[in-house]
């Protein structure tokens, strides 16, 4: 399934709804983003946008996290947050997929991309 197609209704069963949530806000087309972890029960009632805002307003970031946060901020100057090609509306659970760490611990994962639009449509010959 592609990013655009796979979105809501991602088959999270009841038991998985009790897992911690890992939210990653990735700048542009980078491979890695800013990570935030939410304990079970702390995120279910909140909208995904609210969770993103909380992650983006996090303080005491490491140097590497600060650089990622700056990249995210740059993308968001006129850009938007997208999850699997869709604008983030609804709760995290609607976009989450179940994953597990190398140690076998399960968690829910939501990747968000901060994308600055590039509409295209104006090549040098056609300007």
């Amino acid at each position: 399934m592609t990013d655009v197609e796979s979105k809501k209704d991602l088959q999270i069963d009841e038991a998985e709804k009790l897992l911690p949530l890992v939210l990653e806000i990735i700048p542009g087309h980078a491979a890695e983003g800013l990570i935030d972890i939410y304990e079970p029960g702390s995120y279910a009632a909140k909208s995904l946008r609210k969770l993103c805002n909380r992650t983006l307003s996090k303080k005491n970031l490491t140097l590497e996290e600060q650089l990622i946060a700056e990249d995210v901020a740059r993308q968001l100057e006129g850009g938007k947050l997208l999850c699997r090609g869709q604008e983030i509306e609804g709760t995290a659970l609607e976009f989450a997929v179940s994953e597990q760490t190398e140690a076998g611990e399960k968690y829910l994962y939501v990747p968000i991309r901060a994308i600055k639009p590039q509409e295209g449509g104006a090549c040098p010959d056609y300007d």
Partner: protein, 372 residues
């Protein structure tokens, strides 16, 4: 001349000149006698030290070639042999394929250590840490299967002693070759001497290259053999791909690359919300101007004019930078990827083509085969 050196003749060497045995026939005999007549100057006016004809052990020799002149122009006189000897020398010290030059190449360093880390997953788990250059090489080693021969080459490459010895000799300003000395020499002896002298000349001409090579190899002598092997592999192949990010050396331009990021499959929707599945492609930029994103493969998209390879992506408000830097490269690739993946607006039908067939536009590129 080379035919003479391959004969079984004897030559006389005098004051850096090669003298050939003089043929004897009555006419030549007369000319020689005239030269030896009292009062007739025998010396060459341009080179008072060397005579035109020399008598040695009852034989007469005539001045033919200046040794230095032959050596100086050897690359032109016998291009094939010069190239062969140079190749042999370079191979002996692992200087083939211009590996050192490539490893010192700032463009490659920028791609490898500054652009690539942005696009590849570096950290395991949830930690986020900036990797040092050595750690990036470790990561490449983990993800790319480096052929065994590069590990073997790395061993030779890291041994700096032979290069140090050569350079020390050169820097002590020793003569690059010893003169063969005056006297009779067989063709075989003269040929061997030429071989040595040409070898020494090649050595001297590669001095700058050896200095650079030693400089980089000294760095590598402290590095892990795996890192040296990884860099040798990259320098040799000129291309690499990891997590969808890659680069490939241009054939036509030395030291220039195409840097790319794979977009992966994605879906665009048309005016009626019907989906079109687009195949993967490589969005690239060249390290040589123009710095604009393009698609490497034969590809079609509303933002590409035709259905062919190497097309620039149609961009809005895009000012191409004037120099290749890591920051610019990342920005250009991102804008290209974003344009293809998120830029098309089904309502406005922006770009050269619309996804669905319309009555308004002249049908050019058709996307019906991508419909899902």
């Amino acid at each position: 001349m080379w035919q003479l050196l391959n004969s079984d003749m004897e030559f006389l060497v005098e004051s850096d000149f090669i003298y050939l045995p003089l043929l004897l026939d009555p006419e030549i005999e007369k000319e020689v006698q005239a030269l030896f007549r009292p009062g007739k100057p025998m010396e060459n006016s341009g080179h008072p030290e060397s005579k035109t004809i020399i008598a040695h052990q009852d034989r007469q020799f005539v001045k033919a070639l200046n040794i230095h002149s032959v050596l100086e122009n050897y690359e032109t006189i016998n291009a094939y042999d010069y190239k062969r000897q140079r190749k042999e020398f370079l191979r002996k010290y692992q200087l083939t394929r211009e590996v050192d030059g490539i490893l010192l190449d700032d463009t490659l360093k920028t791609i490898l250590f500054q652009v690539m880390p942005y696009f590849v997953r570096k950290n395991r788990g949830l930690q986020r840490k900036k990797l040092r250059d050595e750690e990036i090489l470790d990561l490449v080693g983990e993800k790319i299967d480096i052929p065994g021969k590069y590990y073997k080459e790395a061993k030779t490459f890291r041994d700096v002693e032979p290069l140090k010895a050569i350079l020390k000799g050169l820097e002590n300003q020793k003569p690059i070759f010893k003169s063969p000395g005056n006297g009779l020499l067989s063709a075989h002896q003269l040929r061997d001497w030429f071989h040595e002298a040409v070898h020494a000349k090649i050595l001297a001409s590669e001095h700058d290259r050896l200095t650079k090579a030693l400089q980089i190899r000294l760095q590598f002598s402290q590095a892990k053999p795996e890192h040296a092997a990884t860099l040798l592999y990259i320098a040799d192949t000129g291309s690499m791909e990891m997590d969808g990010f890659g680069f490939t050396r241009k054939n036509a331009y030395k030291g220039e690359y195409f840097v790319y990021k794979r977009i992966g499959e994605y879906v665009l929707k048309d005016y009626s919300a019907r989906s079109y599945l687009f195949p993967d492609c490589r969005v690239a930029l060249s390290t040589y101007t123009p710095f604009r994103p393009f698609v490497m493969e034969k590809y079609k998209h509303p933002f590409l004019l035709r259905h062919k390879s190497g097309q620039e992506i149609c961009m809005k408000h895009f000012a191409p930078p004037h120099e290749f830097t890591a920051e610019n490269a990342i920005r250009i690739l991102e804008e290209g990827l974003t344009a293809l993946r998120y830029g098309y607006d089904a309502r406005r039908r922006n770009g050269y083509h619309s996804l669905e067939r319309t009555w308004v536009y002249i049908p050019t590129i058709d996307f019906e085969d991508y419909r899902i």
